[in-house]
């Protein structure tokens, strides 16, 4: 079958960094192509070049037999390419139909609301999207919102859909639905580029994979004949099957963090103790109180009742700064606005929460030289890849950004660490790195609360596992006592 998309010899440089080095990529109609690679391997750059958000320094793109040269995203869309970003481009206050009409000439100068709504209904039925044209976006869970984006692409007659890590924010059931929708799109002869880190999904849905590594194609394979281990090896150039030493010995340390009848807005009363040398994994579908829990524990959300102690000291009403001083570290899930200041440098972000302490500051002054030396050391130690500490964080890949947060919070050698989605958006190699560092911190005697919607990570790292549902713990048990069935029951909100 003739190709839907042919990219030939794509080269894109950023200064002296070659993000795409002579890459070829083909997509046939009715093909789901998995695009894999570690953070910073050039996947996003390649897709931005395809979608016209970046121009290529060399190479050619042919789409449906016609060349795309120096095109804009608008022209790419008009040609039939749709890009579904990790963060949805939807207006919360508007309905599904209104979002579909947004910026779409076919909606008419005088909006044809009824007609579009019926087209939304029809397409929703045909592709199994299960969307009500009149529901406001704000009322939809993330999985449904993503389907609105897919619906927009379908109605605009897209022939090629690019999905950038589409499953990273979804609950397991939503992932299964999405994969089913992708299969239906494939049956309608659409081409799909599926960018992901998650090998099980690739094995389940993709026809072929292309793996990028440091800007080059590291391998191509037909999924039918490849195993998980082979793909992972192709991706980072080594095997990552993970040994797990968690939960083997019961934690023996003293209680470091204790919550008693603890609650805040959005939480129900929680009582839990975490000992030194223990990792408590908190699993659960996003939006069940995880953000509220970590914010209340770290002082960003006022506590409305109960008691919280750290190493025996009452911190129920302590400020963020006071808790930090007592040894509470925190990696927030919101990397973009909370954990990092993107228009500041790596060095400034590394000292974000420590600017008054050596080596970053002394008394009323910043000590720039020793701060920069420290930043350089952390960059080496945590493998943060950039030219120098003055590099702006916004220009780093997501994985490198997260490593800054990890370096900053772990380097303080905290007594208690609260990590929320700490490996979010990281490739298997970097995830492994982060988890290993946390296990090392635990072995040094710290207590860790690891909150993640990735069950696999939680199972890998935790000594005990709690599941959040409806703002409270639906259940809590040691690693060796939990199984998938029990966790599934807890996640659905039924206490076992």
């Amino acid at each position: 079958m003739s190709a839907l998309l042919e990219m030939r010899g794509i080269v894109r440089r950023f200064g002296d960094l070659c993000a795409n080095d002579n890459i070829d990529l083909d997509v046939r109609p009715g093909e789901i192509l998995g695009l894999l690679g570690e953070n910073g391997s050039g996947k996003s750059t390649l897709m931005k070049v395809l979608f016209g958000m970046l121009s290529a320094d060399a190479g050619s793109i042919t789409f449906r037999g016609r060349p795309l040269v120096k095109h804009t995203p608008g022209e790419a869309m008009a040609a039939g390419i749709a890009m579904i970003h990790q963060h949805f481009m939807l207006i919360d206050a508007m309905t599904v139909t209104e979002n579909v009409m947004l910026g779409w000439p076919e909606a008419g100068r005088i909006l044809r609301v009824k007609e579009i709504a019926s087209r939304v209904r029809e397409a929703s039925r045909r592709f199994g999207l299960d969307l009500d044209p009149d529901s406001p976006i704000a009322s939809l869970p993330l999985g449904r919102r993503q389907r609105v984006e897919i619906l927009k692409a379908i109605l605009r007659n897209a022939e090629l859909l690019i999905l950038d890590e589409p499953t990273s924010n979804l609950a397991p059931a939503e992932v299964a639905d999405l994969l089913m929708i992708l299969r239906r799109l494939r049956d309608e002869a659409k081409g799909i580029v599926f960018i992901t880190h998650k090998l099980p999904e690739v094995l389940e849905v993709c026809d072929n994979v292309v793996v990028l590594r440091v800007g080059r194609v590291a391998g191509r394979a037909a999924v039918a004949g490849a195993s998980r281990g082979q793909l992972a090896e192709m991706m980072i150039g080594r095997d990552v099957s993970a040994p797990n030493d968690a939960g083997s010995t019961p934690p023996s340390g003293a209680v470091r963090l204790a919550a008693k009848d603890f609650f805040a807005r959005g939480l129900s009363r929680l009582t839990v103790e975490i000992r030194g040398g223990e990792i408590l994994g908190v699993a659960g579908v996003d939006g069940n109180g995880q953000i509220e829990l970590v914010e209340a524990l770290t002082g960003l959300r006022p506590t409305t009742g109960g008691e919280l102690t750290l190493d025996g000291r009452d911190i129920t009403q302590a400020t963020v700064a006071a808790r930090m001083k007592l040894g509470l570290a925190y990696m927030p899930a919101d990397r973009g606005h909370t954990a990092l200041v993107k228009d500041m440098s790596i060095a400034e972000n590394l000292m974000l929460r420590d600017s008054r302490r050596p080596p970053y500051g002394r008394g009323p002054l910043l000590t720039k030289a020793s701060g920069a030396a420290k930043a350089r050391a952390l960059m080496t130690d945590y493998d943060i890849r950039a030219r120098d500490p003055d590099f702006r964080v916004a220009r780093l890949s997501g994985g490198n950004q997260q490593k800054i947060v990890v370096a900053r919070e772990l380097d303080r050698q905290p007594a208690v660490l609260i990590a929320h989605q700490a490996a979010w958006g990281l490739d298997p190699g970097a995830t492994r790195f982060v988890l290993d560092r946390m296990i090392a911190l635990r072995n040094a005697g710290a207590a860790i609360i690891y909150v993640s919607s990735e069950l696999e990570e939680v199972l890998h790292i935790s000594d005990r596992i709690a599941v959040m549902a409806g703002g409270g713990f639906a259940g809590i048990a040691s690693r060796s006592e939990v199984d998938a069935r029990r966790l599934g029951l807890w996640m659905s909100g039924r206490a076992a």
Binding site: A321, A322, D334, H337, Y360
Partner: protein, 353 residues
């Protein structure tokens, strides 16, 4: 650090950020913007039937043609610079302080009041006391706005802007009452005692206010880039969520930035009163506070860059009258040039996104 940390959702932060100004663009962009505004002004002058080159020559000569004129230009730039660096500090922290206008007026009144109650003090003491009085008065006025903003959650633009009008009326009222000169026929105070007059710089027809202002700009630049306090301000200006996460108290940062800006604006009023008019006159600072906002933006919210920005506006304005006298181009045209410059600079810094 006693207040409970404010609960802030990403949604409110996003709404908030839209109102907050971004730090300025690279100097090259701003220079191009200046060049464009001068070209536009030339076109306007040509349209009005005059020769742009001779008009600019008249402005240049009027602004810096002699020691006397240079002095007048420096005096003119001084309040813009003092108040402008304070405004720049607030903007950097994401606090949109439009209250310099009122803070300058109240500062001038404060300085005049101190000078009038200390008629017999030796010169240096009288001057320093009066300037401190001005700075304190300005800081107090900024403090009122801050208390309303933080205590009652009134947006800082409203709190600072509206208090400007109250400040002007307050100064009027003081001049109609305790500070006024009886029978003057005009709202003004008696002449201040000679000991409180700012001396002239040797060789120039200028008071030392400009030097104070440059020192203030240098000090604020140091604070912004070399201290944890300045770092916290910059973080808060970029992301309130990140500032809360870092453990900074947004309330304390707001108080710090606002009181500093208020003190500098008050100082600007004091310098103007002690150095130029030597008495408090109604409306002595009309428009200064809004010029300070212009100058802060023109200087890309970088304290040291506000120095050339304030000089630019000061020189332009003091040259304007000469242009009007010599070749009949109305001096109001300079206001147009200032407006155009603002537009171009803002356009140049927004393009960056």
């Amino acid at each position: 650090m006693s207040e409970a940390a404010p609960a802030m959702t990403p949604a409110t932060a996003r709404r908030d950020r839209r109102l907050r100004l971004k730090a300025g663009g690279p100097p090259a962009r701003i220079l191009i913007a200046l060049l464009l505004s001068i070209l536009s002004a030339a076109a306007l002058i040509a349209v009005s039937g005059h020769d742009p080159l001779s008009a600019f020559a008249a402005i240049a000569k009027g602004a810096a043609g002699s020691e006397h004129q240079i002095g007048a230009s420096l005096n003119r730039s001084t309040p813009y610079l003092l108040a402008g660096v304070g405004v720049a500090l607030c903007f950097r922290a994401g606090i949109i302080n439009i209250g310099a206008e009122g803070q300058i007026a109240v500062g001038g009144a404060g300085a005049a009041a101190v000078a009038l109650v200390l008629p017999g003090a030796p010169p240096l003491i009288a001057i320093v006391a009066a300037l401190i009085g001005g700075a304190l008065a300005g800081a107090a006025w900024a403090g009122v706005a801050t208390a309303i903003h933080l205590g009652r959650r009134v947006h800082e633009v409203l709190a600072t802007l509206l208090l400007n009008f109250v400040a002007l009326l307050l100064v009027q009222q003081l001049l109609a009452g305790p500070l006024g000169q009886f029978g003057a026929g005009f709202l003004q105070s008696p002449l201040l005692p000679r000991s409180a007059w700012l001396p002239k710089l040797p060789g120039f027809d200028a008071h030392p206010g400009f030097l104070i202002a440059v020192a203030a700009a240098a000090a604020l630049s140091f604070v912004l880039w070399r201290t944890p306090f300045g770092f916290a301000l910059r973080v808060a200006g970029s992301s309130r969520l990140a500032a809360a996460y870092a453990g900074f108290s947004l309330q304390r940062l707001t108080w710090g930035a606002m009181l500093t800006a208020g003190a500098l604006a008050g100082l600007a009023g004091g310098v103007e009163v002690l150095g130029v008019h030597r008495r408090l006159i109604e409306g002595f600072s009309l428009g200064f506070g809004f010029k300070a906002v212009t100058v802060a933006l023109l200087g890309a919210m970088e304290p040291l860059a506000v120095v050339p920005a304030a000089l630019f506006v000061g020189l332009l304005e003091s040259g304007a009258l000469a242009m009007q006298r010599q070749i009949g181009v109305p001096s109001a045209l300079v206001t147009v040039i200032e407006g155009l410059t603002m537009l171009y600079v803002l356009a140049a810094t927004v393009v960056r996104k």
